[in-house]
Each structure stands twice: as C-alpha cells, then as structure tokens.
Symmetry: C2
Subunit: 323 residues, 2 copies
C-alpha cells in the first residue's frame, strides 16, 4: 500500500495536440507552473482478493470511461512489476473536476506515484513522469514542483518532464477564477484532437510554441513576471484560436470568461500588471507579481465574489510514501 500527493499545474505554454494517441506523445513541448492550492492525494493497494480495480474519488465510486483510464494506467504498472492483483484506489481530489483546472494532471501524477510504489517499483522522477504521461498528458509535468518543461520527445522513452525551476524564488502567483465548476462539454482530449485534425491553423502551432518556449525560458531566467505573463496570455489565446477555427468550431469560453479577460485588460490599462490564461474550460487564471495581489484580488472579487477566487502560489513536486 502506498500514497502519493501531487499538485496540479497550469500551462504557461500550452500542450495542445498529440502525435501519438496511445502513448500520449505531444506535438510540441510545453511549460507549466505547479500550484500549491490544487492537489490530489491517492492511496493504492493491490489486493489478490479483488476481482476488478475499485476506484473511489472523493468517496464516490468511479465507473465508465474514467474508471477505464485508471485501469489502463494500473495495467501498465502491473505489466512492469509482474503483479497481477487488482487494486483498490482511493483518491481525494482538491481540484474542481473537469472544469479546465487540470484535475487529471494531479490525479494521474498521484496515481502513477502511488501505484508504482505500491507495486514495488522504484521509479526515478523521470520514469514517474513518463508513467504519469500514459494517464494524462498534463500529468507528465505534475511530478515536479515550480516551473516545469515537458519535452515532447518522439516516443515513450524520450517524452518526459524536466524541472526548470523547482523552487520559484520570485513573486509569480495566480488567482484562479472558478467560472463554472460543472463538467465541461468538450474534453481536452477530444478538443485537441479536433484542433489537430480540422483547424487549418494547427500546422502553424508548433512554430508558435517553439518561439514561446524559447521566450518564456529567457523570461524565467530573468525573473520577468510581466514577460512571462504576456507570453502565457498570447500563447493561451493562440491555443483557443485553434478551437474556434476547428471544424466544427467550438470554444471553451463562456460569458464569464470574456468578462474576466476584459477585467484583466482593464487592470493592465490602469497600471496593475496582470495576465490571463485559460485551459480547456471556462475558468480563467490570472498571473501577476504578488506585489499586485491586493489590487488584482479586490477587482476580481468585486465582479465574481470571493467564493469563486483561489489564490495559488508555486507548489511542490510529488510526494510518495508507504502506508
């Protein structure tokens, strides 16, 4: 029996599109910030007496395709370890599920950590990152804390995350605006596949990412939060342009998303530097230097209320322990 705790991450340069659906090899590199406030704690226990994997999330039994994804990752662990037993998985998710806050990132990172340890495998963080990738692309990055790069690679061996700056010692911070915590309509898995196969602009995306990756690494080295934020905002919009331009076109934005984007732009026009990013859901995350926290928070609270805001700082990498 083993338990792992992994934090979610928000991509500053987005992962949007796979080269290999089965192995989850992405089309491009990506870069994220792991967040302290959102995490998943998962305990795994392989038990000969079970006839099937049993997966509980926040006390609810998981079924259907979501449970099948968990079993798929457990099968990989069983294959590597030679174990045949089914597992009891008990997961506490401190992330609103499936609303673009990347709960699958922390969930599959924690599952990879706990399952591999419970099966007796001693994996390096790089190997853990590769294993987490098989569950969900963004989970690849949630093995590490702070600022993390996922190198696209070209196969299972070469596609893994690397820490860029594990201890973030400058004031970058985010406020997540919980626009809609209901389950989203278009999964990121399906949404990115639609973009790859039907957006005429998708073929330019790898170029966009290559430029943004180089620029954001420079900005991180210079601890230039404004530059990091500006790159993240531009990159997010260019990712969302790929959903609008798909066939049929779609958008993860809802009306509150537009309102939040407008407020961020207005704050900036008024001299309070902050930047937005959105993943495959309507939630908006606002990036800023912590010296601006009060101004950003109070302006967002006036529109959305404090109940819908979460302040998040850079978070740590995965922790795994034997129970």
């Amino acid at each position: 029996m083993a338990t792992a705790k992994a934090h979610t991450n928000i991509a500053l340069v987005k992962y949007w599109g796979k080269k290999d659906q089965e192995l989850i090899i992405p089309q491009t590199d990506s870069l994220s910030l792991t967040l302290d406030e959102f995490y998943t704690t998962t305990r795994v226990n392989f038990d000969q007496e079970l006839t099937a994997d049993q997966v509980m999330i926040n006390g609810q039994q998981l079924a259907g395709p979501a449970a099948a994804k968990v079993t798929h990752l457990l099968d990989i662990v069983r294959q590597r370890s030679g174990l045949s037993a089914r597992a009891r998985v008990d997961s506490q998710n401190h992330v609103p599920t499936a609303a673009g806050l990347a709960s699958s990132a922390s969930a599959f990172a924690a599952l990879a950590g706990a399952a591999s340890r419970a099966a007796g495998l001693q994996l390096s963080r790089r190997e853990l990152s590769r294993l987490a990738r098989r569950g969900s692309g963004s989970a690849t990055r949630s093995i590490y804390g702070g600022l993390v790069e996922w190198q696209a690679g070209h196969d299972d061996q070469t596609s893994y995350a690397l820490p860029i700056m594990e201890q973030v010692d400058f004031g970058i911070e985010m406020i997540a605006i919980l626009v809609d915590t209901h389950k989203k309509k278009v999964s990121s898995r399906f949404g990115m596949q639609q973009s790859v196969s039907t957006s005429p602009y998708y073929r330019v995306w790898p170029e966009v990412v290559a430029r943004d990756m180089a620029a954001v690494k420079k900005a991180i080295a210079a601890q230039d939060i404004d530059q990091i934020g500006a790159i993240a905002e531009e990159n997010a919009l260019r990712m969302h342009a790929l959903t609008l331009s798909a066939d049929p076109g779609f958008t993860y934005f809802d009306s509150d998303t537009i309102t939040a984007m407008t407020i961020v732009r207005e704050l900036r026009e008024n001299g309070v530097n902050c930047y937005f990013t959105m993943d495959a859901g309507p939630n908006v995350k606002v990036i800023y230097d912590q010296v601006n926290r009060k101004a950003v928070y109070s302006t967002l609270a006036a529109q959305f209320g404090t109940d819908r805001l979460v302040v998040a700082k850079p978070g740590p990498g995965i922790e795994i322990w034997n129970d």
Copy 2:
C-alpha cells in the same frame, strides 16, 4: 445635388486584411448578403460658396478622422470630375454606427453614389463599386443587392464587386442581435491590420477563404441555406481566431456574443437549423431559412428581448436620384 440610398451587407465569407492600405485592395475575395433593414440615405451638394466639406450624419456634424475619410472620397470624385467645389453631405444612417453592423458599408456606398452623380459623373455599377471601395472595403459590395462577391483583384481597376444573385428567391434571412450599439474599441481597419501583421495564422487565411468562396458559391447555386450558414459560421470563427491570435491578442466578442453563439448551437441541437456570424463587433447575426423564423426569433427574444432583435431579408442594390 443628388441622393443615394445604399443598404449594408453582412459578409458570409469575410474580408479581413488589405494588400494595399491606400487603395483598399483586399488580401482575398469575399462574399456578402445585402440586407433590407439597414441602409444609409445620403444627399450631396457641391457648392462653390463652401470653404470646406460639411458632413452631417443623422443631424450631427461629423469631425475628425471620420470627416477626413469622407473628404478623402470627395477628393477622388472632385479629381475625376474636375470640380473644385466643396460639398455639403447630409446622411441619414439607419444602422447602429460602428458596432459591427457595417454602417460604413452603406455609408460609403451611398456617398460614392450621391457624390459621383452630383459631380456629373455617370459611373457604371462596377465603377461605383470601385469608388465606394476607396471609402471602406465593405462598401464595395453594397452597390449590389442580394448575394455579392468582391473580387480582390490586384489594383484599383481589378478590385470590384459583382452580383452573384441580385434577386434572392429562396428563404435565407437573418436576425441581427444588437448586443452592444456603443462604439467598438478596435476599428475593423486597425483590427484587420493587426491580424495581417501579427497573427502567425494569417498566412493560412487566404487558403481558408479560397475554399470557402468555392463552397459557398456551390451552396448558393443549390439554394442550400444550411450549407451557406455552416460555411458562414465556420468562416466567421476562423476570422475571429485571427484577432485572438494577433499580438497583442484581442477579441470583438463580449459576454453576450458568447451567450448568443451558445443559443444558436442549442437551437441547432434541438433541430432548428440556424447559424451565426459576427463582424468586427460584438453583434451576432443569425442566419436561417425563413420557415424557422418563429422558432429562432422566440428563442432569441427570451434571452435578449425583442427590442434588441431585427429581422432582415435580402436587400436591394443602390438607388441614386437627382434632387
């Protein structure tokens, strides 16, 4: 003294980007539907006693860059006709100004018609179309009624509109949702220039348009409103993806735009075929077969109220008369 009445038009395949800023030669062809409900009536009187052009719109004197654009078109007319007199321009605009309902299309078409006639020029409709183009790109198409193509061409001689179907004898219709009739923040002139010069996706746009132009002409020939609507919706989203992906990225959508898009998609899911398009502003125009008018109208009215809805049918080409 002469008066002209010209109707606005809504592009089904968008004009988004110039090859030549001064002559307003577009990057691509485009195709539009002229609408009956929105029009401009303009009277022009060249008068030796005036020391400067005087431009009234809806009883208000026009000044600044907007007045300069009018004088620019009048200068072209003066140059061609040999007239030197300044003009009195009196314009009644039955279009909400600068909210993406293309008031400049009807305004510059009417101005070209009235000014050329008042100056004694006898221009063919093709020549009128080229003249209107010098005021505003979309005005090129407002010379003709019904479904109209603007052939990009490559210079002043070759860039003009052509009628595709002047009498539209099938049931295509639109409802314009007046989301925000305030002046927009980013002019279409500036917005398209930003897209051309900073969106990495812009280079793919000419390809998108070439495909959509061919497809929409086929759909028009087949009087297939669903196909026309689907192409228009996809083309609009791909145009708006160019604003999101500009640097800095921007959007003409406001929160009501997203709400309207969602309602249209839901209507479609419920078997009521309709499609949206948006120009350089937050207003949404819904395209449908008139047999669906009641269902579309009542659903939109429940959200936006009847005051903000205008039903528009295909409209006629320019009329010009001597007063």
